[in-house]
Amino acid sequence: MKYIALVYYREQIMNDMSQQEWDALNQECIAGVEKLVADGKMLDGAPLLSVDTATTVRVREGRITTTDGPFAETREQLAGFYLLEARDLNEAIQLGGRIPTARYGSIEVRPVRELRAEDNER
């Protein structure tokens, strides 16, 4: 079963790090990803640039409108995602716990929904 692990943290924590500390954390993430992929547990994923770069797009009455920033201001900001392959939620939780930034922020683990032609889940 596929789960997505959404990585949230306060960007300020990372901004307050020295370049060396930040690079070290990123190296830890690279090693973690390599291990997850080698274990057959990670299908995809990506880190994101700061929410300062976010643009929110909506379509209303057929027209695109854009606004600056993320759709909601939150205490912790979305920083990236992992697409995981896990037997069940217990394994997904264990895998989420292996993400290095879980020490600083939060990992939201959610099952992935399948897009179907009909009988779609809600």
Binding site: M1, R87, D88, L89, N90, Q94, P111, E121
Partner: protein, 409 residues
């Protein structure tokens, strides 16, 4: 058929726990359980009760579920798997050991930390204890529709997020067991001292919690499981003395002849077995403290030095403000009220905003003993501003009104 009623009470939770494993779905298993009992009611008067009624109920339930899935013409994976396994494993999966494992699986699943605390409580009462939705609602002073919705959501999350039906192994077991024990103790406390309202003891909840504690003790006899059971038994042993005409009676003023000595000796025996074992933890220590209180013939005979030593250990394991407050009260009994007050003052900053009225009540009591009645009055007033439970409130009001008006010094 009276025999069937009896059997339902004894076996329905076991049968359900196994059906959930076999069918992989709570709702399907519940429907199957009811259909199996309906079939028994229909057939047993003619055929007689089968040699192994539980096995009959499980296997009938499973075939009823297969029928139901067929009628829905959902030829999905579940149905295929079910048909393949239906003939093979009935006997082995119904051995007592396997059934015990199923009951543990059910408990661990209902108490999964990925479910909200409210959902864990409702689901455990409903599925493990077999209470009806209405009974669960009454116990939590909630509307049945609210509880029903909570249970439906929890079951959907179990199914959709795929919370596995298993007892966790290895290092996860310890952490997950904490979640299970916390649910049982929360249930007990909901019964022991309702968090709001005028009903001081919703004893049915305490009874269910003790029942769950006994079940866990049989299935997973780890020190903390025994410790929690002992703690509940020892606290519950005082329940008859704790309330008189709807009014709260503190430990100091309780009629100790009303304490249930049979439960006390059972509790003490459990603590004595659990304490020396590796894996002993906060529940064992709290039970040991309750045991020291239970062993004192009068309040004056209480071995406060031993209680303080136990609180020292407990604080090392769980350094929370609440434990620190209880430790300060014990310390005041050993070293005098002033020593206790010194420890309580810094705790108020943390406890008062959380509405913990007992911090002010404890300080009031120590100030009263020191003859500082004005300060005691202010403390009682602050405790009263925080208290939610009516009997506790009346108790504090009585304490307040019995204070002399002039300080002793």
């Amino acid at each position: 058929m009276q025999q069937l009623d009896e059997l339902y009470r004894q076996e329905s939770r076991r049968v359900l726990a196994t059906l959930i494993r076999l069918l992989g779905d709570f709702d399907l298993a519940e429907e199957a359980l009811h259909e199996a009992f309906a079939a028994a009611l229909d057939q047993w008067p003619q055929t007689g009760v089968p040699a192994n009624p539980r096995a009959w109920l499980v296997s009938t339930g499973r075939f009823k579920a297969i029928d139901r899935l067929r009628r829905r013409s959902r030829h999905d994976q579940i149905l295929t798997e079910l048909q393949q396994t239906a003939e093979q494993e009935t006997t082995s999966s119904l051995a007592d050991e396997a059934v015990g494992d199923d009951r543990l699986r059910l408990i661990f699943t209902c108490c999964h930390p990925a479910l909200s605390t409210e959902a864990r409580l409702a689901l455990t009462l409903r599925e493990v204890c077999g209470l009806t939705t209405e009974e669960v609602a009454r116990a939590f002073l909630a509307r049945p529709s609210t509880i029903a919705q909570r249970i439906v959501r929890a079951k959907s999350k179990i199914r959709d997020a795929r919370i596995p039906y298993e007892v966790p192994a290895g290092p996860q077991l310890h952490e997950r067991l904490q979640s299970v024990l916390a649910v049982v103790y929360l249930l007990y406390n909901e019964g022991y001292a309702a968090s709001a309202g005028d009903q001081l003891q919703r004893q049915s909840l305490s009874r269910e919690a003790i029942h769950l504690g006994r079940l866990l003790g049989q299935l997973l006899p780890q020190p903390e499981v025994m410790g929690l059971l002992a703690l509940m038994l020892l606290q519950d042993a005082r329940s008859a003395a704790r309330v008189s005409a709807g009014e709260l009676i503190t430990l100091e003023d309780q009629d100790r002849s009303l304490w249930d000595q049979k439960q006390i000796s059972e509790g003490i025996e459990l603590v004595e077995q659990a304490l020396p074992r590796p894996g002993m933890g906060p529940y064992c220590l709290q039970a040991a403290i309750a045991a020291v209180h239970a062993e004192a013939a009068t309040y004056a005979d209480t071995d406060w030095a031993q209680i303080l030593a136990l609180y020292d250990l407990l604080y090392k394991l769980t350094p929370t403000s609440v434990v620190a407050l209880n430790r300060a009260v014990a310390l005041a009994m050993v070293h005098g009220p002033e020593a206790g007050l010194e420890l309580i003052d810094p705790l108020l900053e943390d406890l008062a905003p959380r509405g913990y009225h007992l911090a002010y009540a404890a300080r009031a009591e120590l100030n009263r003993r020191l003859g500082r009645y004005e300060q005691a009055r202010r403390d009682y007033e602050q405790a009263l501003a925080l208290v939610e439970q009516a009997p506790e409130q009346r108790h504090l009001e009585r304490q307040l009104s019995s204070l002399p008006t002039v300080d002793a010094q």
